[in-house]
Amino acid sequence: MFRRVLVANRGEIAARVIRACHALGVEAVAVYSEADAGSPHLDEADQRICIGAAHARHSYLDQEAILEAAHQTGCQALHPGYGFLSESWLFAARCRDERITFIGPEAASIRTMGDKVAARRAAVAAGLPVIPGTLAPVAGLDSVRQAASETGYPLILKAVAGGGGRGMRRVDDPAELESQWETATGEAAAAFGDGSMYVERYIEGGRHIEVQVLADRFGNVVHLGERECSVQRNHQKLIEETPSPALSPERSAAFGEMVRQAIARLGYRGAGTVEFLLDPATDQLYFLEMNTRLQVEHPVTEMTTGVDIVEWQLRIAASERLGFAQADIERRGHAIECRINAEDPEQGFRPAAGRITTLEWPATGDGDGVRVDTHLQPGYEVPPFYDSLLAKMIAWAPDRDGAIDLMLASLAATRIEGVPTTIPLHARVLDSTEFRSGVATTSTLVELLERWGWAVSPAALEEKV
């Protein structure tokens, strides 16, 4: 095992990784930007080093500064957390050259999974079901028609060179295909100089289901079951849980096994999450993408399996073998996570900065079934430069209703003053019929917000006003 690890992140995940290091007897070095100079989690680290200015570009995203910090503090390995450089294949490759072990998969895996087309091809090759559509770009109306007859309707035309919603066109009916194709190719050719398209079935109101995997460098792979993260706003997950109410235990086990085998075929190493969309129309699960890093919502899996995912990330990086086989993994009970963000849900989720004046958590001792992952302390100043995540609250109970009730009680017992938080929203969503009955899809939260008269984003709020 490494003697010292650089934790190349901030906030709650930096605190989480530091704890995992200490559990393994490893020293943790925290990095911080000028804006995070007083962050309470820095006190938990064995050493701390400033890597630059507030703007992430000049600190948490500055590859040279972080590598230099790792060398200066004599670290052997580096944990990237999530976000920032965690999915930069270039950074992973550079760490390798610098002989700083990147706690994550090989650069090549990160690169493949970071490229939508390459990822889709890899998934097909590994035997995972993908959303019906073309694997290679198609050009010309006849080819698009042919592809459309195979995918079925509704479908979506996606420009090869597109991104951020540009060059995308939804087609509900064969009669619209020609005109929509013309518009889409025209847009794409004008914007990106390339008019070729991918054709893909459009899935409405799907459910977001993902599988956590761990793989060592010796070809041993386990899955730790699925998580459902359908409660989302603008692709931002808010509530996650495991097991998914959409899957029977038998289906869940078979699905996990399929993913486990696919990951073994890919030769992947480290912790990873394979994301799927459950199509309500056909009840099929389709591969969306793979996240080659630790996920924000990993604690629900830890609560139900007893496996410390971060600890195993470190062990795998240090060439240890997985200490257990698939058969050793028992999933117990139900866990739910709520992301407590410094955002005002009644004001279009506008991110807020400011000082935390009051901070009270529910009991989180052994047997309480509640875990809080956070870097907050009373008096903490929330900086305006970064992601607004303040804390993650996780509630575990033998069954789903119990977990919901415990979460509601825990949220009620929580007091955070000084900045608005998403706690009121969580309480309302958890208690909604849609969530309670376990039928929520990725559209549900937006529908609830509309019903309650809450704007879905600051921009939407302004339109209302």
Partner: protein
Amino acid sequence: MARVTLAPIGRPQDQIATPEELAASAAAFDERRADLARNRAEVATGWGDKYIARVHELGKLTAWERISRLADPGTSPLPVGTFVNHGDRFGERKLAAPGAGVVTVFARVCDRWTMIIANDNTVASGAWFPKTPEKIERAQEMALGLSVPVIYLVDCSGLFLPEQGRTFAGATGAGHIFKKNSLLSAAGVPQIAGVFGDCIAGGGYMPIISDRVIMTERAYMVIAAAALIKGAKSQHITSHSIGGPDVHVHASACADERAPDDETALAMIRAEVAKLPGSAADYYRHGVASAAPLHDPEEIAALLPASLQMPYDTYDLLARLVDESRFWEIMPHTGREVITGIARIGGLYAGIFANQPGLFDHPAHPTEKRSGGILYREGIAKLSAFSRACESDGIPMIWMQDISGFDIGAEAERQGLLGLGSNLIYTNSTNRTPMITVILRKGSGAGYYAMAGLPYDPVLQISSPIARLGVMDGRTAAIASYNSQLDDEFEIPADTSEEQAERIRAGMSAVQEKLEADMDPYTSARRMDTDEIVDFHEIRDYLVATVEMSYQTIGRRRIKNPRIWSMHDLEILFES
């Protein structure tokens, strides 16, 4: 610190030039690139469909069909020598010999790189034309330099007799192929031959020196064909009856196995290759896989200015050739008109030597600038030191030439550039680690020699579609030829009569035109002054292949692990 730390290099296209400028640059080479594709397609069809049909009627496959069945599915063989004899005509009937009637390609067979040498049976039944022996010998030299197995696909009617005087008796005449067969064998390079048809006279030595010889039922090998044997007709003697598999597989033991047809023989050759040790390349990757550049090689054409006189940034070029667009520059602060350093290509370490165009500060005269693409004192020393370090460490060397020549003038002579250049020449001449040379735009004068041009035995030299090889450019040569009649500024003196001036102008432009035509890449390729013309986006493919081949065979040459490279010494000595 024995780390090899590769730093990102190069800029995205949109930071190099405007979309309009990029499009204009790319368009400037469109014609050249289209010509290349068309010329290649033409060579690949040999003498054309009629002759392809004739091969098929005989129940045989063409050379290219044989190659595609030998190569691993999904891989693309990389041809060399495609344009040997391009445009030349032979014999009284002025016959063309596309590719000199032989196909030489690097191909992956059972996950190993091989050199395949295949007589083109759609060109005069695979006869050997002038330059056919030299092309085969060059392919054998590449295989020897890279230690990769050679596969001969023999289907050859003998020397093209009307031109036998040009292919027989000289130092590189046909017989030298068999000497090369022997040297390959002596050096432990595996050779496997498939005989698919005629194999007459000296041609017979080529398969027989091979470790394995497989004959199809249509094949025969004879010292002299039946046509030369008295009484052959009355005795029903055919070349096949005296030299077919019945004789050579069983009676003479000159061949090993018989095969019913081409397909079976090719499968048997693959089975033999599979028995050889696998490639060691992955061992030498040190746990890393081959990775595409971050910046697309397809962008190279757009980043080269339309005018050969205009500079570009070589880092942008290298960023489109090397893995992940990452590079460890060695000695970055001295001789900046040449760039030396280490990159991964196909996951394997390679040394890069490249010219950098543009203007640079003059090291001795702080107020002056001098142009890149020229070899000066510091740059020559840097190339020599880096070449020796690569040789010492066993790192294959890639020489990226865009070079106008050596610095000239009184100062250059006093500095002894002749001596420094000779040092570099000596170093490269005695290198045993594979060198690969790429002529990007210009390979001129002594610079072409000093940077491992073909006379210095690189295992491969490729030219881009715009590459020009020559002692000097046409204009300079015209000035040199007419120097006694020009003034100090190389202009025609004002007191020259109009008639005389016109004569000088005409003479100079004739010299210029002749030289410009000679510098065309097809002229170089036709004469075997370069091994292949390669489109910009294919340069990386050839580099990946040759670097992989350099590391394929274990135990044949010195390959140090990166901890003990002499590169580290250079880095430390040239710090700051």
